[in-house]
């Protein structure tokens, strides 16, 4: 356990180094958030009754999405992990007395938390200070706040265990291009448009998938869009998917390591 914590610390400190990049990133995230709110605002004006969320819920959704972009984004997991499989350097990792799965897991989480730590506070503070239609609001009750506090780390675990599956698939495909994994996760987790905007039969199906257990749930629980018992159910689904994908990842990893071929050169 200690060695994984050490890896976590190395990655975390490493991630904190890029402060200028974080600053430039902040500007982008603000602009992005504003544009999303303006676009959906135009649809809201066209037909408020057809808008499936309360507008203030939607605004909170967007700002937390921007603040936690790097926590929940299904991309940029472990580029060096994939690289080591393709280049054959994985042989060194296999010689080390630690689990590769756990190691990637620790590194991935550390990188995400470090990048988020640099960016989330300024986004949230400014979002709370903005004038009316853009202003971010507090959750409607303490219960919602508490549930989202549980849901956020769970969402992170689901994303990371999903990225692990993506990494492990490289053993089989030997390709650096796993963009399908990323786009599917981003789209069905509500990265393009929030899940309430999906057409009806599709929304019901997607809400049961692991994708919905990613950013979709913490964001909608915080804003109050998923409230009361539904929030409890949502968190239970997150726990289920987290456990399932961790298990699947561990099993797949064992299977792939049995037949692993270290690429030469």
């Amino acid at each position: 356990m200690k060695e994984y914590f050490a890896l976590f610390r190395i990655r975390f400190i490493n991630g904190l180094q890029y402060r200028a990049a974080a600053l430039a990133g902040l500007a982008t995230q603000f602009a992005w958030g504003f544009m999303e709110i303006l676009a959906f605002g135009a649809f809201y004006r066209a037909n408020p009754a057809a808008f499936p969320m309360e507008f203030s819920h939607f605004v909170s959704y967007i700002w937390i999405q921007q603040a936690f972009l790097h926590l929940f984004g299904p991309y940029g997991g472990n580029p060096d992990a994939v690289e080591s499989i393709v280049s054959g350097n994985i042989a060194y990792d296999l010689a080390r007395p630690m689990s590769i799965y756990n190691r990637w897991f620790a590194e991935n989480i550390a990188g995400r938390i470090a990048r988020t730590a640099l960016r989330c506070l300024p986004v949230l503070v400014v979002a709370f200070l903005l004038p009316a239609p853009f202003k971010m609001t507090l959750p409607p009750s303490l219960f919602q706040l508490a549930m989202s506090a549980i849901s956020i780390p769970l969402g992170l675990l689901v994303v990371v265990s999903y990225c692990q599956l993506d990494n492990i698939s490289t053993f089989y495909t030997m390709s650096r291009q796993n963009a399908i994994f990323v786009v599917a996760a981003d789209f069905f987790a509500g990265g393009y448009i929030p899940l309430p905007f999906f057409p009806e039969p599709l929304r019901k199906i997607v809400e049961l998938t692991p994708f919905a257990a990613m950013q979709n749930m913490p964001l909608r629980i915080y804003s109050g869009d998923i409230a009361g018992m539904d929030a409890v159910k949502a968190v239970a689904l997150q726990v289920f998917w987290c456990a399932t994908m961790l298990l699947a990842g561990k099993l797949l990893m064992r299977h792939s390591l049995k037949r692993v071929v270290a690429q030469g050169g």
Binding site: A24, L38, A46, S175
Partner: protein
């Protein structure tokens, strides 16, 4: 021009060496592009129109923007990865060769997999062109061609500006992404739906709306003045400051020494 075609052939051949990767790459681009279209489509299943535009009319915008972006991204790839060229010293090699700098950066990198997005654009055009309610005449067709061509030029200028910033910072600047990738992503709707402030910015500062929103009004006969047909040509003026900025950066360029 002959030299460029030679570079073109070399780039194409080298990327064709890894056919599986190339196809996967293209496939990934297509999926990515359809995610954007699905997002627009889902919105219109719920709302019939936005700011007076229907789904096919909005998709016309989506296709124009993605097509011009794909074209410029394919051919201006060298400027997109320019910070890397500066960082690893490749740019120094470019400087000592007896050909134009911009030409060489342009010719050294082409990413044909990005053309996967064109597949999406063509599909969307096939749906949007007959359904948008546009009465197609020769001038409307010309307008559409101008929109795509000049749009590619505007995105190209933005990539040059992005590259020019790297002369000052060596790092790539993420905030430029809001104009390049953001311009594509938000260009899925007519830029006017973002309100007057944004529209004015995208008209007078970074002329993205000049090749998308204003000529669209002409296509839909919401504006009949010929001026609206030729606004994409005005957007071409943006190449000048972009080029000037690049020259400025080039003049104070110091090698990174690696």
């Amino acid at each position: 021009m002959k030299l460029y075609l030679k570079y073109f052939a070399i780039n194409l051949k080298s990327q064709m060496q890894y056919k599986a990767t190339f196809l996967l790459n293209i496939f990934a681009r297509i999926v990515l592009a359809f995610a954007t279209v699905a997002g627009v489509w889902f919105m219109f299943l719920r709302f019939n129109e936005v700011e007076g535009f229907t789904l096919p009319q909005v998709l016309l915008c989506t296709a124009v923007t993605t097509m011009s972006f794909a074209l410029s991204e394919t051919f201006a790839r060298g400027f997109d990865i320019f910070p890397r060229l500066l960082g690893n010293g490749q740019f120094d090699r470019i400087l000592v060769r007896p050909r134009g700098v911009i030409f060489q950066v342009l010719a050294s990198q082409m990413e044909f997999a990005r053309l996967g997005i064109l597949v999406q654009a063509v599909f969307v055009f096939c749906y949007a062109i007959p359904n948008s309610g546009v009465h197609w005449t020769w001038d409307k067709v010309l307008t559409l061609v101008l929109m795509v061509a000049c749009g590619a030029a505007v995105f190209f200028s933005l990539f040059i500006v992005y590259a020019a910033f790297a002369f000052f910072t060596t790092e790539g600047l993420e905030f430029m992404n809001i104009l390049t990738h953001g311009g594509r992503e938000f260009g899925r709707y007519p830029y006017a739906i973002y309100g007057n402030g944004v529209l004015r910015f995208l008209t007078f500062v970074v002329p993205l709306a000049l090749f998308q929103y204003y000529p669209l009004l002409y296509l839909l006969e919401k504006e009949r003045s010929v001026l609206y047909m030729f606004t994409p040509l005005i957007a071409l003026l943006f190449l000048l400051p972009a080029y000037g900025f690049f020259r400025l950066g080039l003049r104070r360029f110091k090698s990174t020494g690696s």
